[in-house]
């Protein structure tokens, strides 16, 4: 039984086609307007950032030259010897790399503690008072908007050079970032356990411990691990302002054109960061999967 499609009356079809055409045209117009705005903004931004494509084109050769220069001279005939020469400073570099990792760890831990203590006051659903909630939120915003390097610059003058400064700077920035994320997790919890504990006469600490904490802990740890990844990168450049870690060696190598050292340290940093990324990703998946 073949079904027949009855065509629409011509006037109705024309009206529909017209409406469709108009809708498509409106979308197109909006797309073009958006693109035009983007191009204008890009032009302004390029002006402000002194973008000089000609300089780039002229000097792009220098970029490839630079990459070629920092590559080590490795020959197959004398591989162990060349490797030893490339990594001539490995005991010092590995020590500094370890220091960098410890800085990231301690900064993350202290920052996570700070964020943990503050996040309950910043979450609208369990906050004690609205003024406190507002104040804590603004404070966290300040901590995460000011970049950690700026904190490090100021702290270096106040505390003196050294890795302690880097840890403090990382910790403050981490408090701001994790405090916000933690408080968002707390705002998304199921409120029924909280209500039942309150109804049973529990105090604030008890409510937080037995109704809120079990719901949020795995997310907290997952965010903490994510932040550790970010902080490893951050700790790597703390040395640029004298706040400890491997950054200082890298800065010296780049500024003084010790080409082979640049690549040696960069490869160390890249491998470490990639290993940490993979490790924390595994841990986070295990954690979220295991607790679900």
């Amino acid at each position: 039984m073949p079904e027949r499609i009855t065509p629409l009356p011509p006037d109705r079809a024309a009206a529909l086609a017209g409406a469709y055409g108009a809708a498509v045209a409106a979308t197109r117009r909006r797309t073009w307007a958006g693109l035009a705005a983007l191009v204008v903004l890009a032009g302004l931004a390029a002006q402000a950032a002194e973008v000089r494509p000609l300089v780039l084109a002229a000097n792009l050769g220098r970029f490839t030259d630079y990459i070629a220069q920092i590559l080590p001279h490795l020959t197959l005939a004398n591989l162990p010897g060349d490797l030893a020469e490339w990594y001539w400073g490995w005991p010092k570099w590995l020590g500094l790399l370890g220091e960098t990792l410890l800085m990231a760890y301690l900064g993350t831990l202290l920052g996570a503690l700070g964020g943990f203590v503050l996040c309950f006051s910043a979450a609208a659903n369990v906050a004690g008072s609205r003024t406190a909630c507002f104040l804590v939120r603004r404070g966290l915003e300040f901590c995460r908007t000011v970049p950690e390097i700026v904190f490090a610059l100021i702290f270096v003058i106040a505390f003196g050079l050294g890795p302690m400064v880097g840890v403090l700077a990382l910790a403050i920035h981490t408090t701001g970032a994790l405090g916000k994320l933690f408080s968002e997790v707390v705002e998304n919890i199921d409120m029924k356990p909280v209500e039942s504990l309150t109804a049973a006469g529990a105090g604030r600490i008890e409510t937080l411990r037995f109704a809120v904490l079990p719901q949020v802990l795995s997310n907290f740890v997952s965010y903490g691990l994510l932040r550790f990844e970010i902080n490893v990168r951050g700790a790597g450049v703390m040395g640029f302002v004298g706040a400890g870690g491997i950054g200082q060696e890298l800065l010296v190598a780049i500024r003084n054109f010790y080409y082979a050292d640049v690549s040696a340290i960069l490869v160390l940093i890249i491998l470490t960061v990639m290993a940490i990324d993979l490790g924390t990703e595994r841990l986070r998946h295990g954690l979220l999967g295991g607790l679900r």
Binding site: A42, A48, E50, V55, Y105, T145, I149, V150, M164
Partner: protein, 288 residues
Amino acid sequence: MKGPERDPAHLGPAEIAALRRRFPDSFRPAWRGRLLAVLALAGLVALAGYAMVRLDFSATRLLAGLGRLGEFSLLMLPPEAGGRAWTFLQALAETLGIAFIGTLTAALLAFPVAFLAARNVVPNPFVHFTVRRGLDVVRSVDVLIWALIWINVVGLGPFAGALAIACADFGALGKLFSEAVETVDGKAAEGVSASGGAELHRIRFGLIPAVLPVLGSQVLYFFESNTRSATIIGIVGAGGIGQYLSELIRVLELRQVAFLILMILVTVAVIDAVSGRLRRTLIGGAAR
């Protein structure tokens, strides 16, 4: 008749004892879990202690530094521009320019590469593995390090900063984009293939309309975070407000430092608000 018996408020000692006997596991403290938690905590604390020793933490230095920090914050008040407000505003515009052009370049570069790194576009595992690891390498080098490298190529100034942000974000955006492409609903793409579309048609009409809003919102998010990065890139000489910031901190012109920090805070808040609205429109448009 049965009601009151089941009411927990009416459980007598005998019933509780019976329950204890029937479900012994629920009443026994979970020693194993507790032991593990305590061990994990002890490990964390021990490592933190080792780190503090290794990194020369000292209470005297900490206290002395805190005292000086208190003095500094008093010296920061009231913030003032010291007659250089116009210079600072120009530097701020430069900062925004660096962030914008850097993010845009990174997004344009990452867009095609992301499809190469996506499993549902390029089935060849060798290609997408290589592309992904390449992106990882680019991503794990910090913006400041990229800035130092680019300064060697195009000289000091904001252009090097823009290139640095473009490079660092190219890696990060490429990874995020390819994940977005991989998680897209494959039915539209299958439909295009089924009605005779070629591979490029499949990408253009089956994948791109679905991922574009997500990508757009990620780019906006990166622009927000790049406004922050662009403020510090001047510390190594790559333009923007960071140059003044590090200079003024070194010479302890703390009132001007406070002024600069306030300017950064306000700008970041404004950018966050604007791009947050844009992002919500983009994502809302996709859901509709």
